[in-house]
Amino acid sequence: MTMPPETSVVGDHPSTLAIRAQALSRVFGAFTAVDAISFDVGQGEVFGFLGANGAGKTTAIRMLTGLLAPSSGAATVAGFDIRHDAARVRERIGYMSQRFSLYDDLTVHENIRLYGGIYGLTDEQIASREKDLLSRLAFTSSASLRVGALPLGWKQKLAFSVALLHSPSIVFLDEPTGGVDPVTRRQFWELIYQAAADGTTVFVTTHYLDEAEYCDRVSIMVDGHISALGTPASLKAEFAADDLDEVFVRLARGATKS
């Protein structure tokens, strides 16, 4: 098993750390879902968080976003301790879960207003950001439609944009492209790149390994451990594999839980 080096940060983003996890663990009864994982994510990085179902990805994300308390270990997100400064962490992160997270019975505009207001944005701020958001997504004519009436791909893009509404420094995406067609997936990744170019750190889990190739760095979780971590190119070289798919399968095959 390869342990990730303690403070490996890719050359492009050496300045500040967006996330630092140190021996972060979560135990459910006798089951250790996340077993002392340590890694760093640099500001502005697109970080792919891979792993088979049940490898512990979602548990790790839930700890980093303050939804779940860690059993042991520590982590800082956006410079704040997730245990003691959870409220500050929450102000600085965006989150989009694998379950659709907007309100179906509210319109696009009402959803934007709700989430903007929850993050403390004023009416003027919401109005100007809503305008930008809708024109970027080419949704301007759909502002008064109920979200429930939109196609899934639109909903996902909208949910991502709403998660960025308050300009978080980090956005967590838990399988954002599940069930979405290839064209929309590509558009979605263009949005991700745009966000990263604006300086937002993107922490993304996915099952599509072609998507993982778009990440600056990826980590692969197996049985609650991080079994591999590096740029897509370095991982392929390390495992003498043609693509990430091969790396993933080789690591996941050694798993006992999945």
């Binding site: 409220a87 929450r90 997270s101 309100y103 989430y115």
Partner: protein, 381 residues
């Protein structure tokens, strides 16, 4: 408290509730239907009981007594005959709910000793109904007996004092709860109004939050920098306001549609309702923390409300329950609020008269809400 977040949360809740056609329609129609149907159905009054008469005496005195019973409108003759066995059978097969047996020599005994006995057998499967029927029969017969005594005294030229034994011919025991002069609807409507807002307040709160759990939007809110206080206020305040609105609608229907008097202070009544709802919504919040699906929430809510309502004194008086139930029932906010509503609306009670109920509601509501909030925080971490 984060005012900006609270504002948008409340806006969202009102929009969602009023936009849900089924829920918003129920909010307006339910008070009307519940009050109209339940107020009439939930009465202990017995309009016309089926009477079987076994008249073994066959005298004008006996016949006149039967006439009195039917003339009262409380009884109608389902059948009659000379056989006591037949009378019993009519009770068994359900043709009659009461059998009146007038023994042979009934009129003669009254003439000679001023005393006689009739037998009234009741189908007491429905205990309260039987009690009411018995009450009516006893009253009518007693009145007839008194008349007989008075009339019997006149024509024969005897002074009433000469035969004092005639007067108490039939002993009548009057119990307040079937007092014929009592209007049951007046008594029931305030109670039904209370259980209506309990139902709406508790059920809507529980379902509302669990629905967000199911949809995954609750997780989204949990990731947001929304303080627990803001979240709970944003959820409960709209429901609290809507419940008070339903209470007002029900109150209007009760006063103008059912002639229920509003003797006391409206302000005092609303103060009680506002306080009571704190607990009712608190129970809903508590249910939402233990249920993961709306189905579970619905099931738990009905189980809780059932106990609430049965121990509230709405349908059955708590006074008749065992000591430990009576003690426990004092902690039932529904019981306190029903007592309060009846006292204010029907008797015109003032703050000094109902301070006990206010104290109880003031203790129960915030305690329940505090426990529910503690529980909801635990379930997030």
């Amino acid at each position: 408290m984060m005012w900006r977040a609270l504002q948008v949360m409340m806006e969202k809740e009102f929009k969602q509730i009023l936009r849900d056609t089924v829920i918003s329609r129920m909010l307006f129609v339910m008070p009307l239907i519940q009050l109209a149907v339940l107020a009439n159905a939930a009465t202990f009054e017995v309009k016309r009981a089926a009477l079987w008469v076994v008249d073994l005496d066959q005298t004008p005195v006996a016949t006149a007594m039967v006439d009195r019973l039917t003339a009262s409108g409380r009884f109608y003759i389902a059948g009659s005959g000379m056989s006591p066995a037949q009378g019993e059978r009519s009770l068994l097969d359900g043709r009659a709910t009461a059998v009146l047996t007038i023994p042979q020599g009934f009129a003669r005994d009254i003439g000679t000793s001023g005393r006689s006995t009739v037998q009234l057998v009741l189908n007491a499967v429905n205990g309260s109904q039987a009690g009411v029927t018995q009450g009516y029969a006893t009253q009518i017969i007693a009145r007839y007996a008194a008349e007989l005594g008075a009339r019997g005294a006149g024509p024969q030229g005897q002074s009433p004092t000469a035969r004092p034994s005639v007067r108490p011919m039939v002993e009548v025991r009057t119990r307040g709860w079937y007092n014929a002069s009592l209007d049951y609807r007046r008594f029931m409507v305030p109670g039904i109004l209370v259980q209506l807002i309990t139902m709406i307040g508790t059920l809507m709160t529980a379902l509302n939050i669990v629905r967000e759990k199911e949809a995954g939007t609750l997780e989204q809110l949990n990731v947001a920098p929304l303080s627990p206080g803001t979240f709970i206020a944003g959820k409960l305040l709209p429901l609290w306001i809507i419940s008070l609105g339903v209470f007002s609608a029900g109150l209007l229907i009760a006063v103008f549609g059912f002639d229920v008097p509003m003797e006391g202070s409206l302000l005092l009544l609303y103060a009680g309702a506002a306080l009571f709802l704190v607990g009712a919504l608190g129970v809903g919040l508590w249910i939402s923390t233990i249920a993961d699906t709306q189905q579970q929430a619905l099931f738990v809510t009905f189980a809780v409300l059932m106990v609430y309502i049965l121990m509230s004194g709405l349908f059955t008086p708590v006074r008749g329950m065992p000591e430990w139930v009576r003690t426990l029932a004092q902690a039932n906010p529904l019981l306190q609020f029903i007592a309060l509503t009846r006292a204010i609306m029907l008797r015109g009670a003032e703050a000094m008269d109902v301070w006990r109920e206010f104290l109880a509601l003031g203790l129960i509501g915030p305690t329940v809400l505090a426990l529910a909030i503690r529980q909801s925080r635990k379930s997030v971490a």
